[in-house]
Amino acid sequence: MKSKPLARCVPAMVTIAAMTILALALALPAAAQAQTSAPTKPATSSATKTTHPTASVNTATPAGAPVKTYGSSTAPITMEVFTDYECPSCRNLFEGTLRPMIADYVANGKVYLIHHDFPLPMHKHGYEAARWANAAARVGQFQNVEAALYDNQNYWGTDGNIAKYVSAAMSPAEFQRVQKLMVGCEDQTTAAVTSPSLKNAAQTTHSCALDSYIEKDRALGMTIPVNSTPTYVISYKGQRLPAGSGVVSWPILKQFFDSLLSQ
């Protein structure tokens, strides 16, 4: 039998397309029925939220845990980002996506952004940068320092002179307070970054008080689990999505947020 020309299959294609639409139409109500009886997912980021209950921009809590958040915790969307300051993709995410997001959706109360440290052992100065950022967060200067670290990643990533860019991001008085918090931390950096694994790094740097915050973030990241940086977790009204990773451009992320907010 000779094979049919493709043109003769057009009616069949139309039939299949119609079947696709019909199947969707039939599946929607059935699935909706199933969804109504399905249990809702528990919100797993509540621990993080309780860690940063105030969560307002530039809130300084010198005596407490470092505040590494942007915006209001009452925002309908929460985005938690696990990053390494020396990771180029993390810089791209911050510069191209998070920065416009902070200026728009965070400022307008739509998104609550939480930063989590997840320094990778492959980066020589990533752990030390996280310490500086946590020290800055303790004096309410996290946002300026985070921006400074990403803006100058190429420079301090090469020479390791992180203090230069941290000091430029705040007043001399604030930098002095940060330096006090960093006492006993800088000399252990070498041990941290030369460790073969993050686990070992954590073991060798316990005497630096700031490391407890980094390790707390890392432990949270392990539960996600974070396999690479940047990794982000988006929650909407207490429901958490599976973690995403890599760089997402702002127009695409904004489109997703808009679709959530229009629900």
Binding site: Q35, Q255, Q263
Partner: protein, 178 residues
């Protein structure tokens, strides 16, 4: 018909193969469209799911935003369409070739992302969330692509017209030209 000249087991195997192939595409398409969070099925929930899939497509960093949206909004429906097409068995040679091309495209994207060192989720929609890398490539390259190729070859083999010398009736043999 030429199909009748093929063994029955081959035809059954082809049916099983194309149903399995159809299931892969139907599951992948459904996973990309199903409601996220605890939403009910609605136009809005589908829009949200497609926006979320667009984020996964975007993380491959291969396309501009407009093309990301185009792919993200077409691919899930294409997968459903192809799944149903394979399921019906109509023009199987064309649908199976299309499935081979689709898997080749997916594998190229995954290999490209892996080569560029992107630690991103596959976004494949089949099975648990998986990062791009050897695991995803092995799954597509050693399971799905061979299945699609087998169905393609099978569909051509089943439909192929037997060669004249395969007919074992001496009287019916064509006479030589004078």
């Amino acid at each position: 018909m030429s199909q009748n000249t093929r063994p029955k087991w081959a035809r059954i195997l082809l049916i099983v193969g194309r149903i399995a192939l159809a299931a892969i595409f139907l599951i992948a398409g459904y996973a990309k469209l199903k409601p996220q969070f605890a939403m009910l099925w609605s136009v809005g929930s589908v829009r949200t799911s497609l926006s979320m899939f667009a984020m996964q497509v975007d993380s491959y960093q291969m396309l501009p935003p407009w093309a990301v949206n185009a792919v993200a909004h077409v691919l899930p429906f294409f997968e459903l369409f192809l799944g149903l097409w394979l399921l019906t068995g109509i023009a199987l040679r064309f649908s199976s070739i299309l499935s081979v091309l689709a898997f080749c495209a997916f594998m190229t994207a995954i290999a490209s992302a892996y080569h560029r060192g992107l630690g991103i989720n596959c976004g494949c929609g089949i099975g648990p969330v998986e990062q791009v890398g050897p695991g995803a490539l092995i799954r597509d390259g050693l399971k799905f692509l061979p299945l699609a190729l087998a169905v393609t070859f099978g569909s051509f083999w089943i439909r192929r017209k037997p060669a004249p010398n395969a007919v074992t009736v001496p009287e019916a043999a064509p006479s030589t030209q004078s």
